[in-house]
């Protein structure tokens, strides 16, 4: 059985880019545009400089100057501190003139991503950060659910993480993700789990929350490729492949944690019997009688007491994964 690649989507992609590209005179490098705001009043907001901003927002000065943005912008983009605030927040003259009066519509002419909905909130950040690992953000699960950059990140990072990258709103990657994924917080505390609680892994070791080609937001192109990053001994390829193991590790393992050994989705012999239930000893109903006898299929590590090469075998007689 040979598989064929689908070329039609590639052709469509190329056509769209060519067609749309004709509308652009020049594709400038990212981050060269400055955020724009539409004034609520008739007058047009103008740039006033950071010195005006810190008149009210003095607490932001020190943290921003020591943040990655504060340090990088002068070098990389030629944006010194005086222009920093309005690079993201837009011209602030009307906002400043409102003097903190929220009944004045001009107060809201400032661009504050934290007060906006998902796509509008993220628009400011995406002006510079749409490449690299954010390439597939648009249309991703998080984007579709109106999750925005500022729900996880804080540009003014003095509140958390000691100003260090990646400037999260919470103290760690895990706490950031657990804001919405509360069930995962509990799962990683189960007795068989990856060392996330011990600080040796984080959610982003496997997932790319900014969008990825995989529907589960995997950091790599596929689930399997992600697992083999650490479990290269399971990559094979083997002479005797175990098809469910080759197709998807999650057929047998729960990567977020399990109460069964080796993060299995259920206890060993029942896991195997999900499939192997038709003839001879794999199909036996191992009950309390077998438990008292300490029948190997249900005792200790269950079926893999014998079928130890269950991920695949390179032995000429390995078709039962015993060798």
């Amino acid at each position: 059985m040979r598989h064929r690649l689908a070329w039609s989507p590639w052709a469509l992609f190329a056509a769209l880019v060519c067609f749309a590209g004709a509308g652009y005179a020049e594709d400038k490098p990212a981050g060269t545009r400055v955020a724009e705001t539409t004034p609520a009043s008739g007058s047009k907001a103008e740039f006033v400089g950071a010195e005006t901003c810190i008149g009210c927002h003095a607490d932001k000065e020190s943290s921003f100057k020591h943040s990655v943005h504060g340090l990088a912008w002068p070098n990389a983009k030629g944006i010194d501190f005086s222009r920093s605030c309005e690079t993201c927040h837009g011209p602030g003259s009307l906002h400043a003139a409102a003097g903190g009066d929220k009944s004045n519509a001009d107060f809201f002419t400032i661009n504050n991503p934290r007060e906006k909905k998902g796509p509008d909130a993220s628009k400011t950040c995406l002006q510079c950060h749409q490449g690299g690992t954010r390439m597939h953000w648009s249309g991703s699960t998080h984007d579709a659910k109106n999750v925005s950059c500022v729900q996880c990140h804080s540009m003014h990072a003095e509140k958390v993480n000691d100003g260090k990258s990646p400037m999260l709103t919470k103290a760690s990657v895990e706490q950031t993700c657990f804001q919405c994924h509360a069930d995962k917080k509990a799962q990683i505390k189960k007795s068989a789990h990856m060392p996330i609680g011990e600080g040796k892994m984080t959610c982003t070791s496997c997932h790319n929350p900014h969008g990825s080609p995989d529907e589960k937001l995997m950091a790599k192109n596929t689930v399997m490729e992600t697992c083999y990053e650490c479990h290269a001994d399971k990559r094979g390829p083997f002479l005797w492949e175990h098809p469910p193991a080759r197709e998807d590790c999650r057929n047998c393992h729960n990567p977020h944690g399990s109460h069964n050994d080796r993060m299995l989705i259920t206890k060993s012999n029942l896991l195997c019997q999900r499939c192997h239930s038709n003839a001879n000893h794999p199909s036996n109903n191992y009950d309390d009688i077998n438990i008292n006898r300490k029948t190997p299929q249900i005792f200790n590590r269950g079926c893999v007491n014998c079928h130890s090469k269950i991920h695949g075998s390179n032995h000429p007689g390995g078709k039962y994964y015993l060798r």
């Binding site: 690649l5 590639w10 069930d183 040796k200 206890k267």
Partner: protein, 760 residues
């Protein structure tokens, strides 16, 4: 950390030393503590592990040292953690902001499996496990040779401690630099070394079914990985090209172990023994992956196209071991006594000396997303995953399941399993109101594989709504209906069935893949899934997160007769026929007054599976039992933080992780034999942990800390809580199973630590 790695780290640091540190702002912090622990096991014996990374040595611990240098032209952020413990780690990130950034790290990840295992084997070079000479000699000397019970007692007397566990040392570095405002290059490399022992089964299976020998498999894995990336980021278009190399080397390519019941090879109708067993271990392999990603923002309707194409080539070229170490056997001759077929004598082997396995993986994704109006957004995505087994066809004449018995004088040809999955999905969300949106998705996934059911489609429809009246409240509710509809059995092209002829023929042609078996991953499936997510932040910074997931999967036979119309087979679906899971998670925190913060979380899991099994050995599905598996989990925790004064911090927390599994037969049916089946004893695991900590700032930069932790683990598990080193099943006393005795044991532990946190 070995001297070699220290020298590499020092060289790196020298290369990347800050050009001008004089004007930089430097922050340094040191955390140290003195620790005393007490562990015990309620049932006596050696206590099991406390925390994941083993018991720690009592005494001084350097918990963390960090230095953070910030200069307009350079940043450097380094930390060293637990430098005198096994889970030590070091990390440095630095660079010139906006131009380049590098990261170098060393991380040790220990994983203890058991600290009370015992083995009679001595580890030699090249994965050879040998038993004491005296015991080996005894296996052929009367009366031990004919009295396996006595022989096993001799084996028991040779046991000594072996620690089962592994450690992975990871050295990694990454450099990212901007070549121009639009181009960024990334170079990374890491080296992982995993070593230690883990249990592995090495059955001889020569008498009474399966003589399990559990062995301490020596692990010596090295992975060398490299990454190279080039990114272009324009205002409207972005492009990324990546190359990844993964090289895996196994220092121990085969495991060879003595049979504790025999040191002679034989093969006859009544006596099937092998003196030594051998199995190849994880094959060395390498993978090359190239991927190209691109995204382009179209000038209309807020539209954007993105695409990704990836190609991986996996290759494993490893020694091909002979079918057995049993010198009484040779290929094609069950009773031969001539030259053994081995790598030392390849001329006698029917197998090649090396075996080359290759796979090609293709992945594609195309997505068009758009926001034509402020209220409407949608996307359409196509994904493809193709696994092409590019290995050559192979076949072997004669094979042995385990080195003792079960010689099969037949030709076997490993199947070249292929797999592909293509999916097309369209999604749309519409904001009915400023704070309320509804959405829907519909998709189809096409699967094709070299399996007993060769192809099928999985349709799904999902509807949902999101309520987000303010930035502080988010409610997401969704429901998914999935219908997987597969083809019938592919008798024509599925070679594993090809030799299946009639009911009278051997029915276990290949791993029991006989007509009548339809596995749950290729069976028809009805899926109903509902999800609720709530996140709320109150004005006083109290937070509430709720996550509920209910999933019901029901499996059914689907197209065509499951029996394949063979006499003696029924049309009943076996294996997993129902899998329902329900999960509810809660996370809440709130300040209590000016000086208290309360945090809590709780999750309840419930899983119910129905698995249809057979009542007895060798019976075919004319009778059956449906087992019901119920699994409950309760996981929760509560922590109280008390800040009585500006200089004092106190916390106390309690965590509980509890799970319970129960299996009972709920239906004996099918007709024919009356079957009595008994419930399993309930298995339980409970981990309780109390942690308290207190901190007092003597000065602004000096804090005294005290930590106390109590941890208690209880376990009731018929399979794992009492694993002896020798088991002889009462119904098969000649089946001598030797285990490592790696039981899962309860324990309790106290840990007290007093420390200092100092900021320079």
């Amino acid at each position: 950390m070995t001297p070699r790695y220290w020298s590499i780290a020092a060289a790196l640091a020298a290369l990347l030393v800050p050009p001008a540190c004089g004007a930089a702002e430097i922050k340094q912090e040191l955390k140290t503590s003195v620790r005393q622990e007490f562990l015990s096991s309620p049932n006596g014996g050696k206590p099991f592990k406390f925390e994941e990374y083993q018991t720690r040595p009592n005494g001084f611990v350097l918990d963390e040292y960090s230095i953070d240098l910030r200069d307009p032209g350079y940043i450097l952020d380094c930390s060293a953690k637990k430098t005198n413990l096994e889970d030590q780690s070091y990390r440095c990130t630095g660079g010139r902001p906006g131009f380049f950034q590098y990261t170098a790290s060393w991380n040790q990840i220990p994983h203890l499996l058991s600290n009370q295992a015992k083995t009679g084997y001595t580890k030699g070079d090249g994965g050879v496990l040998t038993l004491p000479v005296t015991l080996r000699a005894a296996t052929t000397v009367a009366p031990l040779a004919t009295d396996t019970a006595k022989l096993m007692r001799e084996f028991q007397s040779s046991l000594r401690d072996v620690q089962l566990g592994m450690r992975e040392d990871i050295a990694a570095m990454e450099f990212r630099g901007r070549l121009s405002p639009a181009f960024t290059v990334t170079v990374g490399a890491d080296r992982k070394h995993k070593f230690g022992n883990r249990p592995i089964g090495g059955s001889f299976g020569n008498t009474g079914g399966s003589n399990v020998q559990e062995l301490p498999e020596p692990i010596d894995y090295v992975s060398n990985d490299a990454n190279l990336g080039l990114d272009y980021a324009g205002q409207s278009g972005q492009l990324g090209l990546r190359y990844a190399y993964r090289g895996f080397q196994n220092g121990i390519q085969a495991l060879t172990w003595d049979n504790p019941q025999s040191n002679v090879d034989s093969y006859s109708a009544t006596n099937k023994q092998a003196a030594v067993g051998r199995m190849p271990l994880a094959p060395e392999n390498e993978a090359h992956t190239v991927s190209l990603s691109g995204g382009y923002s179209l000038p209309w309707a807020g539209a954007r196209v993105s695409a990704n194409a990836g190609y991986s080539h996996w290759k494993a070229d490893n020694p091909m071991y002979a079918m057995t170490t049993n010198t009484a056997l040779r290929p094609g001759n069950a009773a031969g006594t001539a030259v053994p077929c081995d790598l030392s004598n390849p001329a006698s082997c029917a197998y090649p000396s090396h075996i080359l396995q290759e796979m090609d993986i293709y992945t594609q994704e195309f997505r068009l997303s758009a926001r034509p109006t402020h209220k409407l957004r949608g996307s359409i995505a196509y994904r493809s995953y193709i696994l092409e087994n590019a290995s050559g066809e192979k076949s072997f004449n004669g094979w042995v399941a385990y080195d003792g018995g079960s010689f099969k004088n037949e030709t076997v040809s490993p199947e070249l399993d292929q797999f592909r999955k293509d999916s097309l999905e369209a999604k749309a969300d519409y904001d009915l109101f400023e704070s309320f949106s509804v959405g829907g998705a519909a998709g189809v996934e096409y699967e094709k594989r070299t399996r007993e059911v060769d192809k099928g489609k999985d349709y799904h429809v999902e509807v949902g709504s999101t309520y987000k009246p303010t930035q502080s409240l988010f409610v997401n509710l969704s429901y998914l209906l999935g219908l997987r509809r597969m083809n019938g059995f592919d008798y024509q092209t599925y070679r594993k069935f090809a030799t299946q002829t009639a009911a009278a023929a051997p029915r276990d042609v290949f791993a029991n893949e006989i007509p009548g078996m339809r596995r749950f991953d290729v069976a028809d499936r009805n899926r109903n899934r509902a999800r609720l997510q709530v996140q709320y932040t109150a004005p006083n910074d109290a937070t509430l997160g709720v996550s509920i997931l209910a999933n019901r999967d029901d499996y059914r036979a689907g197209k065509d007769a499951l029996s394949g119309n063979y006499p003696g087979f029924t049309n009943t679906q076996y294996g997993l026929i129902q899998n329902h899971t329900y999960t509810a998670g809660l996370d809440a925190s709130t300040p209590l007054g000016d000086s208290f913060n309360l945090e809590s979380y709780y999750e309840a899991d419930f899983s119910r599976q129905l698995i249809r099994a057979n009542p007895g050995t060798g019976q075919f599905p004319s009778d059956d039992i449906v087992d019901r598996l119920n699994e409950f989990s309760h996981i929760g925790g509560i922590a109280l933080e008390w800040l009585p004064a500006k200089l004092v911090t106190t916390t106390i927390g309690y965590d509980l992780v509890f799970s319970q599994l129960h299996v009972d037969p709920v239906f004996n049916g099918g007709g024919g034999t009356v079957v009595n089946a008994q419930s399993w004893p309930t298995t339980k695991r409970m981990l309780q942990r109390v942690k308290t900590s207190a901190g007092y700032k003597v000065r602004e930069n000096v804090e005294l800390t005290a930590n106390y932790a109590f941890e208690k683990f209880d376990v009731t598990d018929f399979a794992l809580d009492n694993v002896p080193t020798l088991v002889q099943p009462t119904n098969s006393p000649t089946n001598n199973m030797t285990f490592l005795g790696a039981s899962l044991r309860g324990y309790y532990a106290h840990s007290l630590a007093m420390g200092v946190r100092y900021k320079f």
